[in-house]
Amino acid sequence: MNELIDPDWAWAEYSPSAQSPWDTRMAAHLFRRAGFGATDQELKAAVEQRPSELVDSLMSARESDAFLRDMKSLAGAAVATGNVKQLSAWWTYRMLSTPTQLLEKMTLFWHGHFATGGEKVKDAELMLTQNECLRRFSLGDFSKMLLEISRDPAMLIYLDSATNRKAHPNENYAREIMELFCLGEGHYTETDIRELARCFTGWEIRRGEFKFNHYQHDTGTKSILGKTGAFAGEDGVAIVLEQNSAPEFIASKLVRFFVMDEPQPDKTLVSPLATLLRQSDMLLAPVIKCILSSNLFFSPHSIGRKVRSPVEFAVGLLRCLEGSTNSFSLAESMDALGQGLLFPPSVKGWDGGRTWINSSTLLGRSNLIRTLLTGDKTRFAKQSLEDYFKATGLDKPRLVIDHLERLLFAVPIASAAKDRVESLMKSDNDSSFVDGIHALCTLPEFQLG
């Protein structure tokens, strides 16, 4: 399928046409991918703008000082408990309430990229420091983010690289920076790993802070990826980043994140983005803007062609319906579905796509819907979902179904399925409303975003 996509067409700016009109469906797609989802009001406002205006406003949105103050004090309270899970709850709350959805979505992307797990780091403050670093650079300078992460206490503790002596260099960080953070498997040799590991000798974490211990640094000559010299750790990071495969690797991952799970984008398709990334000195904003404004993004290759992650599934549902809930429980539920914030499964992060889906997670997703619909902690604009719909004039099952389809579904629902859900909602049963919404959100279509 990839071979059929012309890169020039793919990355040219989308301009609405009769075949591909700019409507609420397109706008909902953009909100889902560049964030978590939009309310009815947000969608109505969005279609009054041009798509490029909406992308610009998503890219340049800023958090208010009041919001930042709130987040800071809540993060402080979470860190004070010493429990990283409280910090997951804090991040969940931030995703539910942030005015800057793209910034938060990209922070999540980089968390999956530079995956670091709280179960091993254990220190909530270090996890917060890393989270803030990822947010600071999430739409910014990849080179700076990479160097900062290479000395990030949480990362180095997670990768057992908090001590690095010249007599026995620890290869773990050297391996992962090439395999998972910059180049991808196959773009380096085992010798490159061993040589790069020597550059990082003397890099240590002491009492939660990065320290360079020059007594333990191997000052000898190293040969890495075709370059030879008495390289220090900073040089090692720079040499890795100079490789042609670095912008290709990052651009390819961004395409998969924003555009489609399958097929894996091929080199020809990614190449213009990689060039753009390199030409902008590894600044991320231009390439992200290009992707989100592109023909490919607003095409059937992209719409509904991703499996929702647990965060997209749960936070998306709530945001679209002005929902609020107990953030700690929600974070735990998302963890049970395979996406524990600050608890990724390994340094490789989340594979995404089809790997989100199995019997256990599908039943878990369905059960989470029921919990959100029936639990008294969850409110939609401060009321039950049924009352919320009634207040907005959606007083008939069919109206509710069509409304939810427009807001939440990237893939249309067959009319026979809608009829079936409608009759379930009309049945004379105390739980018929909940049963109907629950059945709708258990449809296979609901797993795609």
Binding site: N170, R175, N358, L448
Partner: protein, 405 residues
Amino acid sequence: MSVLTRREFLRSSAASSALLTFGGLAPSSLHAAAAANRSDRILVVVELAGGNDGLNTVIPYGDDVYRKLRPKLAISKTNVLSISEEIGFHPALRGFADLLESRKLSVVQGVGYPDPNRSHFESMDIWHTCQRKEEVRTDGWLGRMIETTDSSGSDPSAMHLGNDKQPLSLMSRTVRVPSIRSLEQFHLKGSESESFRSTVQQLSDSHRDGGDDLLGFVQSSTSSALMASERLVTTGKAYHSTISYPKNGLGEQLQTVAKLIGSGLKTSIYYVQLQGFDTHAQQPDAHQGLLRQLGDSVKAFLDDMDTMQQSDRVVVMAFSEFGRRVAENASQGTDHGTAGPMFIAGSPIKSGIIGKHPSLNHLIDGDLEFHTDFRRVYAAVIEDWFGCDSDAILKGKFDPVELFA
């Protein structure tokens, strides 16, 4: 579900070309068939994720090079659970030592594959798919095996237990394997209402256009999840056991497997994972805990199979994506290496040590050299336990290791 017997398989037209390749292997597998009807046979796979330090699992304690390269991490002669004058188990592997004593454990030494990859993810993918990165990898060896045996509509052919994402080895193009965390979580909320339950089941069953794409995949997964949920809620209640399992992740998972087997489920493959073997730093305590968990849990599980009179149809296989570097690092840990031991346990197996411990004097880049391809162990399971042809499943011809009595 019906697993093809070898005879049925040979009779089927698709297998006619494979007939020639069986060669002299038939007698041993016919012998094994006496133990239990093939269609009832069960394999429990235990994945040791992170790269188990094989050298401190089956320990060449008689070798001076071992102590020299492991000044801090070597297990002393007095502490190993001796198997022979050369090798012994880590002291935490009492469970495995007992199993070996009672003739229920086979240790295959020096297992690996050519041109080893030291990335966790790549190496695990190789073990799961039997293919290298250059090839298109859409399914795993167990997935391919159940494709030849699955008849949909009844119990799942294979099942994955635990919180981790489903292993690639269970992926199949046509059969969806359920993953379950616990039996309780497999209950669909609201399903007390028959109208709700039947609505979601029927809506998920109906075919969507484009069956092979993402939506088709989610649709068939949803449909089989709802079906398996209904089945499991009604089973699993029949299990009663007097065996006490270790109170840890692997123990609990294997007890769940025992419950499922006891409930009469016709599943033939169960897959569980034990994480944490990536011991780059402070290895001794972590590794000891993991090995104790492994040995004690597998021992309890097989004891349970004995009391349930199921032991003639169950074998357990444990593997890791690679062993670890022979020389320890500066953080009292070990880095990624290559060859390591595999373990196969159960009454039906031919107990003992298979193959030599890899030499510590002939290291390749500081790593052990493998002598037994892991696919030869898989081949034994596929051919001699399940009676299937292994060539297509393993994408090549591999001589089965003699695992079965």
